[in-house]
């Protein structure tokens, strides 16, 4: 179940790829629905559980409450809430510490910016989105103490034109590096970046280099297919016990994928800082 269109080239596309990977690898029946409102989400969860689906992914923080309400009626089903909050019976969260990757992207942003202003565009201010943005800002300040940060929320993940206008306004306010966590609405941000000279952007959730190959410095990636398949394997073999599954850089599920074509924009000092920070995060299994 996704909270938005699977054609967003981001968060929801990744989940659908995960579902398809499960089908291909494990030869099981899959199904997907888009459920946007709390009412739809609860009904969709209930419908899947009633139809006997063994493993149900509620793809996003927004599904936590509905899954907790529905789960008691269906003790045999397993509900995985991506970016979920807490473990409750058969409702298990799958947490992605995207901030570990956006921190690395922030180090790059701090090193590349010339105006010393960087901007973030968010869809809705959900806790996981806030955390990843804060980590990006922290990374930028770590590599460049003079950086000023700006953030804009759209209150929608769909409105591409809003994403574009928000990006244009940030660029007007002096930002020359942008990032986002706005799913489909971010498509407008990439358009705005492509139209402005010498400004750069980071991708979020999927490797989004293809959206603007000459402007995307890198992407903070969640390898949703890999994480989904791992859980589905355990459920199929009967070894799954509900637990908090948390993925950071060390797991390989959360990654920072630089765009090799733009690595020349980074000083060797910044490149060294990024790999040192990556090693340290992996060694400690947490962000600095």
């Amino acid at each position: 179940m996704t909270p938005g269109s699977i054609a967003d080239a981001a968060w929801n596309s990744g989940a659908f790829q995960g579902l398809e990977l499960i089908q291909d690898s494990l030869q099981v029946q899959i199904s997907h629905v888009e459920a946007r409102t709390p009412g739809e989400q609860e009904e969709a969860l209930r419908a899947y559980a009633r139809q006997g689906y063994a493993l149900i992914f509620g793809h996003g923080f927004e599904f936590q409450g509905a899954a907790e309400r529905v789960s008691a009626e269906f003790p045999l089903a397993i509900f995985i809430i991506t970016s979920g909050e807490q473990l409750r019976g058969n409702v298990a969260p799958m947490i992605f510490r995207l901030g570990e990757a956006t921190y690395l992207a922030g180090l790059v942003a701090g090193g590349v910016t010339r105006s010393n202003v960087i901007g973030f565009v968010g869809g809705i201010e959900l806790p996981p989105i806030r955390e990843a943005a804060d980590a990006w800002f922290a990374g930028a300040r770590a590599s460049n103490p003079r950086v000023t940060t700006r953030s804009t929320y759209l209150n929608t993940f769909d409105d591409v034109a809003a994403g574009r206008e928000a990006a244009v306004a940030l660029l007007r306010a002096g930002a020359d590096i942008l990032t986002h966590n706005a799913d489909q609405a971010a498509l407008g941000l990439f358009q705005a970046v492509k139209e402005a000279p010498s400004v750069y952007v980071f991708g979020a959730n999927l490797d989004q280099t293809d959206l603007a190959p000459e402007r995307v410095l890198g992407s903070a990636v969640i390898d949703l297919p890999r994480a989904f398949l791992a859980v589905a394997r355990e459920v199929q073999s009967g070894t799954f016990t509900p637990h908090v599954e948390s993925f950071g850089l060390a797991s390989g599920v959360v990654r920072y994928e630089p765009n090799p074509a733009l690595l020349h924009l980074l000083s060797s000092d910044i490149q060294a800082r990024v790999s040192a920070a990556r090693d340290s995060i992996i060694a400690n299994d947490r962000a600095p």
């Binding site: 054609a7 967003d8 080239a9 409105d159 591409v160 489909q184």
Partner: protein, 307 residues
């Protein structure tokens, strides 16, 4: 400071263009007595038509495809709400919901399910010599061709509604359908024509969103603009010449959200995001209280035609 203001004005005009086109179209439909909540869907269909047309044959092909898509949706709505005389609000809502689903299906079928981030050929901003160099007002004259079209359409539609025989018959059908029919006005026909013209403009509004603003398509990208356009019609007192400033007002309020968030980080973004809607309520309670809707707006064709 002046550059901040000009940038904001350019953004406001860009944001206002699709709203203006859709609101002008809806003004025509409502003058004929038909409230079409399906324009949100017609706009979305226009946006997808523009994307498919532009990727096949450039921006003008996109415009043509968008108008055709809007007309198809308008024809469907007119068939149900005017010809068959169904409840307009329900028919319009169903039209919009159907379009949201159908455009998603067609988009995924056409471009693959994964989402592609289309980059489409767009209309560049065209400067009007002389005017575009004006201080402050300059950005109004550095816009896409669709924006100029929208601005020129406002007086053209006013002329159509108040200075032509067709306009008189349409307004008669909207104010007093029964009397108009007894005087020989083919009420259903002129209402259908009004709906079709309105839906074609909604399709054009979708094209301006895709080809004049963002250069890409995404599912549900109209994001309620059709409904905002309906509010603009009321705010503009069902008069194209007043709909124009009303649309600009909305465009400015919406653009202000992003300018304020980017430039004045101290203001909580929640406050900024409420602004357009607060302003709307404020204006509706003051200015628009004076405007009067067409008397037969929303009434079924059957009840005004007496058959």
């Amino acid at each position: 400071m002046e550059t901040e203001i000009t940038a904001f004005m350019a953004s406001a005009v860009r944001v206002a263009t699709p709203l203006l086109l859709a609101a002008l179209g809806e003004t025509v439909a409502e003058r004929g007595g038909v409230i079409n909540l399906g324009i949100e869907g017609a706009m979305l269909a226009g946006a997808l038509g523009a994307a498919i047309g532009a990727s096949a044959g450039g921006p003008w092909a996109g415009v043509a495809a968008a108008v055709v898509a809007g007309l198809v949706v308008g024809a469907l709505f007119a068939l149900v709400a005017v010809v068959a005389g169904a409840e307009q609000i329900i028919a319009g809502t169903a039209t919009t919901l159907g379009c949201i689903g159908l455009t998603g299906v067609i988009y995924r079928h056409h471009y693959g399910p994964g989402g592609v981030g289309l980059t489409l050929p767009t209309f560049p901003a065209t400067a009007i010599p002389g005017f575009s160099a004006l201080p402050i007002l300059g950005p109004l004259f550095r816009q896409s061709i669709l924006t100029y079209a929208a601005f020129l359409l406002a007086p053209a539609l006013w002329w159509l509604l108040w200075r032509t025989r067709w306009g008189l018959r349409l307004r008669a059908a909207g104010e007093a359908g029964l009397q108009a029919r007894t005087r020989g006005v083919p009420v259903r026909r002129v209402r259908t024509e009004g709906v079709l013209l309105g839906a074609a403009l909604a399709g054009l509004a979708g094209a301006s969103l895709v080809l004049g603003q963002v250069g890409t398509f995404a599912e549900r990208m109209t994001a309620g603009r059709g409904f905002i356009a309906i509010a603009i019609v009321a705010l503009g007192g069902w008069n194209p010449l007043r709909v124009l400033p009303a649309a600009l007002f909305f465009g400015a309020a919406l653009a202000l959200q992003y300018v304020l968030q980017a430039a004045v980080p101290a203001v909580p973004y929640q406050v900024v995001l409420i602004l357009p809607y607060l302003l709307t309520l404020l204006v509706l309670t003051t200015a628009a209280g004076r405007a009067k809707a067409p008397a037969d707006l929303g009434r079924r064709a059957a009840s005004v035609e007496g058959d």
